[in-house]
């Protein structure tokens, strides 16, 4: 029972390949029709280009961050020596160990934008863009090409390394003699290191650098935490979907309702946490009513992005809190699958409304390009994680907490 080798089901393989194919075709079509747009009107050509880059930027960051959430939850639970996650540990590990692929994609997109001086996306790239409202000197250092490049590359490399390392250590433990805990403690230390890196990157500087700088004159200190909460709750939903999928195919027998309940609690609690941060950011700006701050919400609340603003609250707060509140719902596979999908869609929309108003202004379009790129990224996740899962047994047999996880009661 405890030595299960995952085989990628044929259906998953074909689906992921089809989705990847759609993504690649869309990307090529996007390059032809959007990046080298032949629209006779000049501003429309610019808009097409902006749409091309903004959609790629939004999707690559979104999928990178929700994959990274797996590394974060593994590190956090390892540091707390929590046993509940061990039953399905291999799934967040597999997701975390493919972070490097998304890191490369995101890195290419970000550095291309910066080094081609694409100031239609990152307005701060243009020197003297608005001399009457220029950035102050510290911010000029933060939003500069060298700093952006060095910090982005460093952070992407560290994230990728930690994602791979944590899985490596966990797999190494399988072949070690029973009862040894050396690798377990090594994993503990690596996790501590990751939390440190994470605090300095995703939990503070990276969302400012990558997303908030799209509106280079607007700022909010809550922004990073808000982005982190968004990516973390989506990451937990993705782990939930994978656990249920793998379990449905007859693996992971030691994962019981109790573990599903725990994951459901994370989805529930962090939906509320996200709302708390989103609201804290919103309320201070709304109350102070300073024009340079309220401009951010002007386009989103009253402008053309109204629909996303309300969808954001409904999909990411009202739905999870009302559906997941009763205990039986958190233990019902159908309900948690449904809510996981709602949360993933909702937070994709959240990222969409973070990126789009600054880049394509009121001309947002949810068309073939957005759809195709999302398909491509979903296919990539399915393909990479599915394949990663086959390379190691699904149960970490020598983990000291294995017994604890089997008898775990949530």
């Amino acid at each position: 029972m405890l030595n299960q080798e995952f085989k990628v089901p044929a259906k998953l393989k074909t689906t992921s390949m089809v989705l990847l194919g759609i993504g690649v075709i869309t990307l090529i079509a996007g390059v032809i029709f959007l990046l080298f747009s032949k629209d006779p009107v000049e501003p429309m050509r610019q808009l097409d280009q902006n749409r091309f880059w903004a959609v790629l930027l939004q999707n690559s960051i979104f999928f990178l961050l929700i994959a990274l959430a797996s590394v974060f939850i593994l590190s956090g639970v390892s540091l707390a020596q929590g046993g509940w996650i061990v039953a399905f540990r291999r799934i967040p590990e597999a997701i975390g160990s493919v972070v490097w692929v998304f890191a490369i994609i995101t890195g290419i997109i970000l550095l291309t934008l910066v080094w081609t001086d694409n100031f239609h996306i990152y307005a701060w790239l243009k020197d003297g863009y608005n001399p009457h409202n220029s950035l102050n000197s510290l911010k000029n250092f933060f939003l500069s090409k060298p700093f952006f490049t060095v910090w982005t590359i460093l952070v992407l490399v560290l994230w990728s390394w930690f994602g791979i390392k944590i899985r490596q250590l966990s797999i190494r433990q399988d072949s070690e003699p029973k009862g040894t805990t050396k690798t377990y403690w090594q994993n503990f230390n690596v996790s501590a290191g990751f939390i440190f890196v994470f605090a300095l990157s995703l939990a503070s500087t990276i969302p400012w650098l990558w997303i908030m700088s799209l509106d280079s004159h607007w700022f909010s200190t809550m922004f990073s935490w808000y982005t982190f909460a968004s990516s973390f709750v989506s990451g937990m939903s993705m782990i939930m979907l994978w656990v249920l999928y793998v379990k449905r195919h007859g693996y992971l027998e030691i994962v019981s309702n109790e573990h599903i309940h725990d994951l459901g609690k994370f989805m529930f609690a962090f939906s509320i946490f996200w709302t708390y941060l989103w609201f804290s950011q919103f309320m201070l700006i709304w109350y102070a009513n300073i024009p340079e701050e309220t401009i951010y919400f002007q386009t989103r609340m009253h402008g053309p992005y109204r629909i996303f603003y309300w969808l954001n609250i409904i999909l990411n707060f009202v739905c999870p809190i009302l559906i997941l509140m009763p205990r039986p719902n958190k233990r019902n596979y159908f309900v948690v699958t449904l809510v996981a999908i709602i949360i993933l869609v909702g937070h994709w929309i959240d990222f969409y409304q973070m990126v789009m108003p600054a880049t394509v202004q009121e001309h947002w379009k949810l068309g073939w390009f957005e759809f195709g790129i999302v398909c491509g990224f979903v296919g990539l996740v399915m393909y990479l994680v599915g394949n990663k899962l086959t390379t190691a047994p699904l149960v970490p047999q020598n983990n000291p907490l294995l017994k604890e996880t089997i008898i775990h009661i949530s």
């Binding site: 309320m283 509140m325 009661i409």
Partner: protein
Amino acid sequence: MSIKKFAVAAYDDEAVLFPAVKKVRSAGYKIHDVFTPFAVHGLDEALGEKESDLHIAGFIYGITGTSTALGFMGWIFTTDWPQNFGGKPHFPLPAFIPITFELTVLFAAVGMVLTFCYLNQIMPGVKKHIFHPRQTDDKFVMVIEVNDTNAAETEAFLKSTGADETNIQIAESDWWYGRFDKKEDYEIQQQLA
């Protein structure tokens, strides 16, 4: 409030208690209650207890708090004493959210604590019969309600499940107000009279 007859068994260890609970239940006895010195995981499932409805009460208290806060503040600032705060509307919902949240939590928390105490019959001044003096110390005590005909047989069965001590007690099954046991209470009343 009624005086009933109980068969009481005290066990030494939870590892003995669990099989005993299973045996007693499969033999068809109805367990009145089990007292343990600490919370024993899985005991409620073993006893076949249904999930508590306390959280439904909590939800109702919570939305009561929400509507109290919104209704009261809304009434004050739109009807009773409208004021202009920084040009905000008279019903500034975002500004009300923190207070609404606090009141929701307060109502839910206080309401649930009181309901919990009521359901478990723990209140200042409330007394219950204690079946075994060591039930909060180191003994695991199982109590089964019996009648005159099956008392001896039940006690023997409990003994066979590994109980340390068993006895038959006639006791008040519910709670009452007062500082003393029912018997002492009665004696004090007699002396005072």
